[in-house]
Every structure is written in C-alpha cells, then in structure tokens.
C-alpha cells in the first residue's frame, strides 16, 4: 500500500474525474467515442512504457516523436510496395531499434548527455524526413486499415495489444534481472558498476528498446487511417514524458511503475473529451494538462524533501 501510494493517488484522481463526469456529463461514457479515445491512446501508451524505462534509468529521449514519424512513413512505404503486414510491423520495429541504437551509442558509448543527443536526433530525423518526402502523405493499400479487420474488431485488437504489452513489460521490469538493473543504474550508476552491473550497456539497451517500442507504436497508429501523415508524432515526446511524470516516474531516476504511467496517461487523455462534454472551450486542455504535470512534480518534490529531512 505504502509503496504504491504515489500511483494510487493518481488513480484516485482519475476516479474522481470519471465519477464527476458520470454525474455531470454522462454522455462521456458512450461506448463508441470512448473506444475511439482508447484506440487513439493505445500507441501513446506503448511509447510511454518505453519512456518510463528511459526516465527510470535517469535518461531522457525527446526524439521519440521524430522516430515515430520516420517509422510511420517507412512502414507505410513498405506496405504500399505490397509487403505483408507482419513484415511491415517487424521492419518498423527494426527501424525504431536502429534509431534507438544511435541514441544509445551516443549517450552510453560516448557518454554525452541524453537531452542534447536526443534533441539533435529529434531535429535530424524530422528534417531528413521533410527533405525526403516534402510533406507528401503515403497512401496505404486497402486491407491494411484495422489490420484487415472490421473497425470495432480492429480497435479492440489495438487496445488489447497495448494493454497486453503493458502487463508484459510491467511484469518484466519487476521479474527480470534486466528490469532490476535499469532501476539500479538509474538510482546510482556507480554503485551498480561496483556491483558488477554494466551501466552503459544497460542504458544502451534501454534506448534500443525505446526505439523498438516507437516502431511498434508507429504501426499501431498507421493502421488506424488510410494515409500516413509525415508530420505524425509531433509533440508525442511531451505527451509521453508528461504521462510518465504524472504516473509517478521520478525524473531523478530509479523510481516509477509502469501501471502508474498507464493511469497517468488515462488522466491526461480524458481531459480533452471531458472538456467537450462540459462545454468548456478546447484551448483549456493544455492549461489543465500543464497544471496536472506541475502538481505531480511539486508533489514529488515535496515528498523527496520530506524524506530527506
């Protein structure tokens, strides 16, 4: 109970919001819009899981939005060439992993600060894509949308896939040595090194894994529409970092749980539709999201200060 306090308090906040909506705007709970909302957020959840691991290892990756766009376009082009769907998914994951490996090599191999490295790769991938595609959309072949299923079945598939991945990753971080190492490296890299763990290798693979998840998420997004927007994924990095922070992942590394990230993402995601149903103008969304993030950070700050005293 005490160990999950941070996550539970976010869950409580989410519950309060949902209860409030149930009373004031029951229309929010219509199944079809809700399903659409969750489908839209499914890829974000996948990326947020990766980001949580990156932040737990005391790093940051702000290039995920650009990676997302590159994977989307590349995957879309392969699909347009007639590649079979599983192969397209796999290639996209591979592209993501390669971009992650570039980040990982620069951060862990050359020991450069990840904020600068990923800022540079963020701009590089994005601009390379713009130069290559000139903003052109990729038209996808029929039968790709909703992975060839009906819309409802496709939506459920994506949501359940994202949730399954969340559960799998949450279990893995707790039950695999690799997960333990990520926490150890994020808390104290030198102590981890003295215990025979290789911090730089750990960080490298966290970035590679992050990239692979972005590749997967990109495909989960691509199959939701008939075209690929080369500008997709812009702002994604902020969204997933926000979800991680609100969900209780400490920016100072070493602390956080994936299910907390899930709750944090839901909390941030339901604000926009909630505003619509409450007839509040949409531009309040960012302000409210900002306030929630600030609240989370301040709460964490106060908590660590209390622990220190």
């Amino acid at each position: 109970m005490k160990r999950h306090f941070r996550e539970l308090s976010v869950a409580a906040a989410l519950l309060v919001v949902l209860l409030g909506l149930a009373i004031v705007a029951p229309a929010f709970f219509q199944p079809q819009p809700l399903l659409s909302l969750l489908t839209r957020e499914a890829p974000t959840l996948v990326v947020a899981c990766g980001m949580a691991l990156v932040i737990i290892s005391r790093q940051i990756d702000i290039s995920v939005g650009s990676q997302f766009a590159v994977c989307s376009v590349c995957g879309g082009l392969l699909a347009a060439k007639g590649w079979p769907l599983p192969l397209v998914f796999l290639s996209s994951v591979l592209f993501g992993a390669i971009m992650g490996a570039v980040n990982g090599w620069l951060v862990a191999g050359l020991r450069l600060p990840s904020i600068v490295v990923t800022l540079a790769t963020m701009v590089t991938w994005r601009e390379a894509l713009r130069w290559q595609r000139q903003g052109e959309f990729v038209n996808l072949p029929d039968g790709l949308q909703w992975v060839g299923l009906s819309q409802i079945a496709g939506q459920w598939t994506l949501i359940l896939a994202a949730l399954a991945l969340l559960v799998l990753l949450a279990l893995a971080t707790k039950h695999l040595s690799a997960g333990r190492f990520v926490y150890a490296v994020g808390t104290d890299a030198e102590a981890a090194r003295l215990a025979g763990i290789r911090p730089q290798l750990t960080i490298f693979f966290v970035f590679v894994f992050m990239g692979a998840l972005v590749g997967l998420a990109a495909m989960m997004n691509v199959v939701q529409s008939p075209q690929v927007d080369p500008k997709s994924g812009s702002g994604l990095e902020l969204k997933v970092i926000a979800a991680a922070v609100v969900g209780g992942v400490a920016v100072s590394g070493g602390r956080g749980k994936l299910w907390g990230v899930f709750v944090g993402l839901l909390l941030l995601a339901c604000i926009s539709p909630a505003l619509t149903h409450l007839h509040i103008e949409a531009y309040w969304e960012k302000a409210i999201q900002g306030a929630i993030i600030l609240l989370a950070v301040v709460a964490d700050g106060l908590r660590t200060r209390k622990q220190r005293n």
Binding site: L176, A184, T187, D188, A191, R193, L194, G196, G254, R255
Partner: protein, 487 residues
C-alpha cells in the same frame, strides 16, 4: 571546542591557539579531528560547545562569510578556483564587493592581481586561465587571494601533497614571508620534515583530543610519532585463529598510472587478514580499485590461485571471485532506495536467478539467511537500505559480496563511521570469514583496528608499499612507515 556527528564525537574539548607571526603545525592520524577543527575555524561547521576568540574578541556563530570578513583564509589541497576564468577574474571575485550591478574596473583588477602575485613571487600571468595552471600554481593564486583579502589567519591543509621539490621551496618561502608580515599560519601536513623545517609550534590531535602543544625545537620525529599513536591496542579484538593457507592473490610489480599506484608486490593467503595501513592519499583505495578492475592495471601481474589473470572491469573481478566492499557505503556500497534483499543479490543475479524470471522466494531466503548470519538489524528483507544504521548498512554491503562466494575479500574502511557495538560485530565477522578460509585484504585508517585484526600489515606511502610488518608490530612502527621514516 567540541563537535559531534551523530554518535561520533569528532572533537572532544580541543583547545588551540595561534599567535600572530607564527606557523603552528597541526598533526594527527586520519580521523584525529584535524579537518573538523579546521572546518569549525572556517565556519563550515558549527561547534557544539566551546568558544572562539579572535584578537581577544569572542566570536559566536561563525559562518564561512563572517570568517572571511574576520581575515580567516583556508587553502585546501584542491584549490577551489573557477577553472574557466582568468587568474585576475578569480582574484577579483574573492576580493571585490559582491553587489550585482557594480561596474568592473578591469585595469585595477588586473593591476591588483599582478601586484599580489608578485608579492608572493609567483610567475603567473593574471590573464592566464586557471584551467591552464598547474596545481601548485593554483595554490599560489589561492594564497594571493588570501593575502589580498588581508587575511590574518591562513590555514594550509596539506599544501605540499602534490608539489615537486622546487615548488615546495617556493611555497615555504611564501609561508615564511607571511609569517614575517605578522600572519598566523595553521599548517597541516603529514610530512614531518616540513613541520621541522617550517613550524614554530606543533599541536598533536588524537581521537578528537589535543594531546599536547609543544615548541617544535623541543620535539624530535620519534617523540611526535609517539604522541600521534600513543595508545595501547586494547584487547577487544578477537584473536586470530586461522592458519594461513595457499596464496590466493599475488600481485607482482602491479601499477596503474591513472590510479597513481606503482610497483606493488603483495601476497594474500587463504585464511589470512592482511591489513593495509597508510595515510589518506597513500594509494590504498586506489590499489583496491586497480585489483577490482575499476581503474585497470597497466603494468605488472595479478595472479589468482597461481594463475595469471587480467581484470579490466568490476564484472570480471566478480567472475574471478574477487569482492570489494567499497569505502563510501552510502554512495557506493548500498543503494539506499532499494530493499536490502535487492541490495544483497545485486552482484549475483546470474547465480541466484539462472532461469528467465527472478525468484523472489530464493531472494528473500538469501536475504533472511544473511540478515540472520551477520546480525543485520532491519525489519525485514523489504526494508530500504536507507532506513538502516551505518553499521547495518555495512553488513548489507558485506552480505552482497559474501553472496558472490568470493575467494578474496577486499574491505575498504569496513568500520568507518560505525558505532562501537557494530564495529566489534563486524570484526568478529571478518575473523570468522578468515577462519573459513577467505583471503582478506583490509584497508583501514583506524590504526588499532589494523593492529588488532591483521595477520600481516602492508604499509603504503606515495602509491606503493613501503613496508610489510608482522602482526606483532606496534603502532609506532606502522606510523613511522606511513610517514616515511624508518627507525
């Protein structure tokens, strides 16, 4: 003057006085209370009791800023300058008023810097970036700052530790100039010859107490060393019961330029505790880091059970059966945020968890076993490392390494900052481990501990082993070797 840190009493009623125009040396073993006394004088620590008088006036609530105003300046071993600014800018920052929007008069700043540097005979350009200066040059800049601030009390903490012979002579000349101009100098050094060359009086601290202030002329090296160690090894240490077996670790001419150790030859046998004595900076921790692959050796050989091995990362050292319980347990020994069970299995994941998944049951059992075996006082395997007392944290750190089933255990200051009860428990554990056939290399600055625990004692000085002594030796002999004097 008294000062305690938690349960540790660092200063137990020390009295110290400094006259204008004298060099007063401060001498003592590691942990005798020199640094604490200096920090109280410079206002970095608030004393728990006692009083400070400067020019006959009582000073209460000394802070670093007010100490500075009172003319107290301290020159540390590692100069605290801004490396990217020039010498003149650094001096200016110390001496000019600190208001935010004042106009900087560059010409005056330059001129003053040049004058101050000239006064101490330093050939340093005021325009040079501090980064480009050598360590002694930076120390001279510090002295120039102190001089420019009109310091009446200058504290020098081992100023010659990194200086060459020639630079030392230059520094001595500067110190003598300071003395001649009426400045009181507190001079801390482990080098006895410097104290005889430079100081007027010498105060020896031991275990947080002053054991005497004497005129240097009335002392000789032997009497000073006697004052420094001057206590009997009490019988609280468990007796050695083990017979030394085969040689486990053998170092042959081992060196590492980056770590500052050279030409180390040493054998450690199974069942034997080899103590490592020496002063801070003698290279003992550095040697441990070389053996453990943190700063890998670049010359010489390491033999483990007679086989030549190379160790270039801690992971390889662990694989070879070497364990290193580091000095700073709060930073490197125990991950404070993690439960003690996680801490204990940190180094043996591939051994306790051979399959895919972690086995929490096995981990818990291992933690319970070690908790029981070593007498760790914690509410359970889930207790975070940070919730334990220092001694218990040290036991957790020890458990992590015993879990690797090592052949060689390197302990770095195993009882530093540990209360008396836990200390004797840790000593008993170390003895038992040796009896069970483990080869133990124990670095310690606690001289009675080294004497009471070791089967043999290696004394280091200046990055190499200067003496191998048998357990029957006494504190005087160890200290003499650590200070570089053979009687």
């Amino acid at each position: 003057m008294t000062k305690s840190f938690g349960a540790v009493r660092a200063l137990k009623g020390v009295s110290f006085d400094l006259h204008a125009g004298e060099v007063h040396a401060l001498l003592g073993e590691n942990g005798a209370g020199k640094s604490t006394l200096i920090k109280v004088i410079t206002g970095a620590h608030q004393p728990d009791g006692g009083s400070i008088k400067i020019n006959g006036e009582s000073v209460s609530q000394l802070t670093p800023a007010s100490a500075h105003k009172l003319g107290i300046a301290c020159i540390y071993q590692q100069p605290a300058l801004f490396p990217d600014l020039t010498v003149a800018e650094n001096i200016g920052l110390r001496l000019e008023s600190a208001s935010v929007f004042r106009k900087v008069n560059w010409a005056i700043r330059q001129q003053r810097a040049a004058e101050l540097l000239k006064r101490i005979g330093a050939e340093i350009s005021p325009d040079a970036e501090v980064r480009s200066l050598s360590m002694p040059e930076q120390q001279l800049v510090e002295i120039a700052c102190a001089l420019g601030a009109g310091a009446r009390i200058v504290i020098m903490d081992e100023p010659t530790a990194s200086l060459t012979q020639k630079e030392q002579h230059l520094l001595f000349a500067v110190v003598k100039d300071l003395r001649a101009s009426g400045v009181g100098v507190i001079y801390i050094s482990h080098r006895l010859e410097e104290i005889f060359a430079l100081a007027d009086r010498v105060t020896v601290l031991r275990d947080g107490e002053s054991v005497g202030t004497n005129k240097v002329g009335e002392m000789n090296e032997s009497s000073l060393i006697k004052l420094m160690v001057g206590r009997e090894v009490s019988a609280i240490y468990p007796p050695s019961e083990s017979a030394a077996g085969n040689v486990v670790l053998s170092l042959k001419n081992l060196g590492c330029a980056a770590g500052g150790v050279e030409n180390i030859s040493l054998d450690v046998r199974a069942g034997e505790i080899v103590g490592m004595a020496g002063l801070v900076g003698a290279g003992r921790t550095e040697l441990a880091r070389v053996i453990f692959g943190i700063t890998p050796a670049d010359s010489g050989e390491i033999l483990l059970n007679g086989q030549r091995i190379t160790i270039s990362t801690p992971k390889e050292a662990v694989a070879h059966g070497i364990a290193y319980v580091p000095e700073d347990r709060r930073r490197h020994g125990v991950i404070l945020e993690m439960p003690i069970a996680h801490n204990m299995t940190m180094a043996i994941h591939d051994r306790v968890f051979p399959g895919t998944w972690l086995r929490f049951g096995a981990e818990r059992q291992l933690a319970l076993d070690f908790t029981h075996d070593l007498g760790v006082k914690a509410y359970g395997p889930d207790a975070p490392g940070g919730s334990l007392s220092g001694g218990n944290q040290q036991k957790v750190s020890l458990a992590r390494w015993l879990a690797t089933k090592p052949k060689l255990l390197i302990l770095d200051e195993p009882t530093q900052g540990v209360d008396v009860g836990a200390k004797s428990e840790i000593h008993k554990i170390i003895r038992r481990l040796a009896k069970e056939g483990l080869a133990v290399l124990m670095i310690s600055s606690d001289l009675p501990e080294v004497l009471g625990m070791s089967d043999r004692i290696a004394v280091m000085r200046g990055g190499t082993i200067t003496a191998m002594l048998l357990a029957k030796t006494d504190a005087h002999e160890v200290m003499a070797a650590a200070l570089g004097k053979q009687n």
